[in-house]
Each structure stands twice: as structure tokens, then as C-alpha cells.
């Protein structure tokens, strides 16, 4: 065993530059794979956070088409509905259009909305101050930290969907009840938006993007959703009601092609490093054919020769994977910080780390297969004559 380990490890360090470059390639591949997988996870993080007792009602044609505000009372009247809150995507530009300054802004029925979202943890005094201030805003802790916003600060927003200059005063900062709660959002009063629109563009007032519906019984979600949509059948704005999770997945699916491409690229990176590693191991085994023949002549079985090559390949893969996985955490969080609030909940999951390790293991084994077969089968006489 000691002879085997000595040979495998020292063989691995024989061509330091070649081994170093192969390890570097593996580090880059495992790191890239981990980052890309984490981006995909972050993409679907909203769906993971969705609560089962919340439904979302939107225009059946598309999210971009609004619904009349009076639907709110009709939905509230549906049996099994506990409460309803408006949630309007506001858009707008803070400072400039860079990703660093992007954060989601929603106009909501504040009291009802925050009652439905216990995961947004608010200080009672601050929340009361927010309710009193028509131009007040609630922002998440991550957003506050990122931009240095404090209670009382004014956030100026240049409107795009809703034109004009808008100003909001930070009245409350919420924390997340769970580590994966999105704390990069900004909320303000729907009434402020609606009343301003009535003055500036009356035709766009009293229109709503989505209604968030809290229900009493999770088991009746499908039935209640059908009942809501039934009410608006054959109207000018038919609705589509679904669970919050389905809504989030549907939202993410709008960009599914990109997500699939990202996933595909992550595996392509692994395939490329597999080819590089296989080439390294093939070169290595070819150069050492005389040594393998000598070992066989001395009485070492073919399995020992195969294990030597596999051991060397796995050693390179394990070193590359360890460094790659280790780097995924700092690089991932640096990348997420650079992306601002595009990925509000970004994390390197244990599954991602597991996949990275499995990929490295597969690369280590697959790269060694052909050289192992060739070296184990080497004819001693031919191998001793071999000039690599």
C-alpha cells in the first residue's frame, strides 16, 4: 500500500507544470460549474420561498395587462379567502440603469400585504410610521445595507412604467424571518401610486398588476383559485389564479431558455475539462509504458498498474475539486454582491457542492479509463522495448 501511494502521488508530481495546469483547469471548471449551478438555484429561489396559503391572481392574458381595482372586493368575497392585497410592479430607475442600482419596487396595500407575509419581520413603531406616511416606504435589510439607506432617508425614483419623478421616505426596514427571505425589496403605498396617477394620467389609475390572496385552507387552494377565475369569466380582464409557487415558477420560466443554456454550459465546462484531463492521463500513461512493463515483469498484477493510473488521476481531480469548491464560496458571494439585487437570495447549496464533488470524481475516473486499460494490458516484451 505504501509503495502504491508513493508511486501514485510522486508520479502525479513528476511533471509539475503539466499537473499544475491540469489542476488549474479543474479548479476553473469546478468553480464555474458551482457558480453556474448557484445562479440557476438563485433563479428559482423565489419559488422555494413561496407560501402554500397564498394565491396570486393576474390577468389571464399576461402579467403586463392590468386588472380593475374593483376585483379586490369581489375576490375578497369568495368563500375561503381570508384577505386580498394589491401588489403592483413599479419599475423605475434609481440613480442609473446599472445592475448595481437595480432593486424591485412594489406598490402594495400595506396593512393587508404585510399581514400576509410574516417572513418580513418589521419593528412595530417603524411600521406604524410607515402606515402614517403616504409617501413612506418599507425596505429590506440587504437593500438598506447595500445603499446605506437609513430611516428618514429619501429615495428618489425616476419613473418609467409610471412616468414622473417619485420620492419615497424610508420609514421601516424589514428583516427576513428565514435566511432565504428576500430582503432586497422596496414596498410603498398603492394609494400613493393610484392617487398620483389619477392626477397625472387618469386613464391608468385604478388598475392593478396582481392580487395576492391569502386563503384559509391550503387544501382548498385549487378550488378557491377556480372560484376566483370563474367570477371574471367573459369579462374584459379574465383572471388566472394560481398558487404563489406556481406563479413564481411561471415567472422564472419566462426566462427558462437562459436557465437551460446556463445549465448546459455548466456541463459543457465539465466535459471540456474531462477531455483535457483524459489527454493529460493518456500522455502520462504513454510516457510510462516501459515502467508499467517493468512493474509487470517484476510480478505486479495488471490491477496494480490500473490502480496507479486511477490513483494519480483521482489525486489530481481531488486537489482540483477541493480548491475549486473552496473558491466557490468567496467568488460566489463576491459575484452576487456585484450583481446587486438581481439575485436577492444567493447561496452555495450543499447539493451544488455535492454535484461539484461528483463531477470531479467522474472526471478523475473517466479520464483514467482508457490509459488504465492500455497500461494494464501492455505486453511486457513490447512495453520494455517501448520508446515513449
Amino acid at each position: 500500500m505504501t509503495s502504491f501511494l508513493k508511486l501514485a502521488l510522486r508520479n502525479g508530481m513528476r511533471h509539475k507544470l503539466r499537473t499544475g495546469l491540469t489542476v488549474l483547469g479543474l479548479v476553473v471548471a469546478i468553480l464555474s460549474f458551482g457558480l453556474l449551478q448557484s445562479i440557476v438555484d438563485a433563479w428559482y429561489a423565489g419559488a422555494d420561498r413561496a407560501a402554500a396559503n397564498r394565491l396570486v391572481t393576474r390577468n389571464a392574458i399576461s402579467l403586463v395587462f392590468p386588472m380593475p381595482i374593483n376585483y379586490r372586493e369581489k375576490i375578497r368575497a369568495v368563500e375561503g379567502v381570508r384577505s386580498v392585497a394589491v401588489a403592483n410592479w413599479f419599475g423605475g430607475v434609481y440613480r442609473d440603469t446599472s445592475m448595481a442600482n437595480f432593486f424591485p419596487r412594489f406598490a402594495v396595500d400595506a396593512e393587508q400585504y404585510f399581514a400576509m407575509y410574516p417572513e418580513y419581520v418589521l419593528n412595530e413603531d417603524e411600521f406604524r410610521a410607515f402606515l402614517r406616511d403616504r409617501k413612506g416606504a418599507v425596505i429590506g435589510r440587504k437593500l438598506a445595507l447595500q445603499h446605506g439607506f437609513r430611516i428618514g432617508d429619501t429615495i428618489p425614483i425616476q419613473g418609467d412604467i409610471f412616468p414622473g419623478n417619485w420620492e419615497f421616505t424610508v420609514r421601516a426596514i424589514y428583516d427576513g424571518a428565514e435566511p432565504n427571505t428576500d430582503t432586497s425589496l422596496m414596498f410603498f403605498h398603492f394609494d400613493y401610486l393610484n392617487e398620483t396617477l389619477k392626477q397625472r394620467v387618469p386613464g391608468r389609475a385604478d388598475k392593478v398588476g396582481v392580487f395576492v390572496v391569502a386563503i384559509e385552507d391550503v387544501g382548498r387552494a385549487a378550488e378557491i383559485a377556480r372560484a376566483i377565475d370563474e367570477q371574471f369569466k367573459n369579462s374584459a380582464a379574465e383572471t388566472l389564479t394560481e398558487t404563489e409557487k406556481a406563479f413564481q415558477i411561471g415567472f422564472a420560466k419566462q426566462t427558462e431558455a437562459i436557465v437551460i443554456a446556463v445549465r448546459f454550459v455548466s456541463y459543457v465546462v465539465i466535459a471540456i475539462i474531462l477531455a483535457v484531463m483524459a489527454n493529460t492521463m493518456a500522455m502520462t500513461a504513454r510516457e510510462r509504458m516501459t515502467e508499467y512493463a517493468t512493474l509487470k515483469a517484476l510480478g505486479f498484477p495488471p490491477a496494480f498498474i490500473a490502480a496507479l493510473i486511477l490513483g494519480e488521476s483521482l489525486a489530481i481531480a481531488v486537489i482540483g475539486a477541493a480548491i475549486g469548491i473552496g473558491l466557490t464560496f468567496p467568488v460566489g458571494y463576491w459575484f452576487a454582491a456585484k450583481m446587486g439585487t438581481l439575485f436577492p437570495v444567493f447561496g452555495i447549496s450543499p447539493q451544488t457542492v455535492g454535484l461539484q464533488a461528483v463531477c470531479a470524481l467522474v472526471v478523475g475516473i473517466a479520464a483514467a479509463l482508457l490509459p488504465m486499460r492500455r497500461a494494464a494490458r501492455v505486453n511486457i516484451v513490447e512495453g520494455l522495448r517501448f520508446v515513449g
Binding site: L7, R10, T290, T294, L298, G299, F300, V381, L384
Partner: protein, 243 residues
């Protein structure tokens, strides 16, 4: 001769041919040879005469097309690959022209390598490897890598590796072919000592007449046929009479 009179190696009706470019090229035909225990035999002959092929079959790293190779009563031509590997590990010590040491292992680790196939404890393996290196006069080079040793020293490490398992038979294929005269003399002296002092049976293939002269007996292989020095001399006399 130090041989005790019993044949350690018996080669009977040995035939071997190779396939080259779709054609079968005969290398050895109906070879018969006895090597006595404790003998030191040199095999000579021109390039391509089949002397290394014969040595390989005696050492169990090649198989004949027909015939028998009996070593200590075991017909090694009939052994399976795995049986043959185990047999080689226990009974044969190899000395190659280019030493064939593992470049990443030190001298003592190289010598210790064949003992990894035994059940000896680690400490015992190291002790035996050190003894073998002392025997070849390399006690002060134990931790040197092959690249840090001269050609003659590397060959001495290879000889130590060959004897560390106390094999029945030592096979040496051109052991001095890559060495200068002084180093070659050292190696030949060492082989002589192993033969006379330790009673090792040695079969050596060589091109070098001076090296062959250090052996107890010389056999010549030409055109696939084996002959003694006397046969060669007789043929030469007959040829000169006809001329």
C-alpha cells in the same frame, strides 16, 4: 563450475515466431537447453538471432508457440498470466540494459518495490532492501533518486532489486550495454560474486565477448539455432577447409 549438476532450467523443443506485416517470421525453432543450478550462462549471437526472446521465455515474460520451459520442475509455459506474474515475483530477478528503475523512488524504495508483493512487514522489507544495497556497495546512496546516480550505480541498484527477493534465477539482458568499460567491469564483477558467493543461477544475454567470457558457459544463437562455443569453432574450421 559452481553448478551442482541438476538442471534448474530445462528448455525442450522451444519454438517461437513473430507476426510481422501479416507474415510469420520464425525466431526460434526446436531449441533444447539445460541450465544447471548455480550456473552462469552467457547467451550470445547477432542482433535478431532470438537470444533476448529465449531469455524472455526462460524468465516467463513471453510464451512459446510450442515446447516446454521447465524451471525448477514447473512448466511455466502452461501457467496463466496471473500465475506467471506470481511465479516471476517469487523466482526471477530481472536486470535490464537500461536499469528500468522507477525514477520517482529512491534507491532503497526501488529495491524494496518487489517486496511489496510479499507478506513481509514494512520494517522487514526496508531492512532487506538496505542489506541488498549494502551487498552491491551502495549503502551511502540509499536515499538518492536514480537521476542522482551514475549509470553503473543505477545498474547496481537494479541488481539489488533483482536479488532482494532471493530469486531462483537471475536474468540479465545486456546488463553492461549502456555502461562504459569501467562500470561494466564493476557490474560483471558483481554478477560473478552473486554467482560464486551466493550461488545465484544467472542467464545473461550480451553482445560483448569480454562480458560473456566472465560466464561459466557461452551459448550462441544464430538463425534460431543454439550451439556451444565448441560447435562454433568446429563449424569455423570446417568452413575454412572447404574454402
Amino acid at each position: 563450475m559452481s553448478a551442482d549438476g541438476t538442471a534448474l532450467v530445462q528448455v525442450r523443443g522451444l519454438t517461437k515466431s513473430y507476426r510481422r506485416g501479416g507474415q510469420r517470421v520464425p525466431v526460434l525453432s526446436d531449441i533444447n537447453l539445460d541450465i544447471r543450478r548455480g550456473d552462469f550462462l552467457a547467451l550470445m549471437g547477432p542482433s535478431g538471432s532470438g537470444k533476448s526472446t529465449l531469455l524472455n521465455m526462460i524468465a516467463g515474460i513471453d510464451k512459446p508457440d510450442a515446447g516446454q520451459v521447465l524451471v525448477d520442475g514447473v512448466d511455466i509455459a502452461r501457467l496463466s498470466e496471473s500465475e506467471l506474474a506470481a511465479w516471476r515475483a517469487a523466482h526471477v530477478g530481472f536486470i535490464f540494459q537500461f536499469y528500468n528503475l522507477m525514477p520517482v523512488l529512491t534507491a532503497v524504495e526501488n529495491v524494496e518495490l518487489p517486496l511489496a508483493l510479499t507478506s513481509l512487514p514494512r520494517r522487514e522489507r526496508r531492512a532487506r532492501a538496505e542489506t541488498a544495497l549494502r551487498l552491491v556497495g551502495l549503502e551511502d546512496r540509499m536515499t538518492h533518486l536514480p537521476s542522482e546516480l551514475s549509470g553503473g550505480q543505477q545498474q547496481r541498484v537494479a541488481i539489488a532489486r533483482a536479488i532482494v527477493t532471493d530469486p531462483t534465477l537471475l536474468v540479465a539482458d545486456e546488463p553492461t550495454g549502456d555502461l562504459d568499460r569501467a562500470a561494466a567491469e564493476e557490474i560483471l564483477g558483481l554478477l560473478e560474486r552473486l554467482n560464486t558467493e551466493l550461488g545465484k543461477t544467472i542467464v545473461m544475454v550480451t553482445h560483448d565477448k569480454r562480458a560473456a567470457d566472465r560466464a561459466h558457459a557461452i551459448m550462441y544463437l544464430e538463425k534460431g539455432e543454439l550451439s556451444t562455443a565448441e560447435d562454433v569453432a568446429e563449424r569455423s574450421v570446417r568452413a575454412s577447409r572447404h574454402a
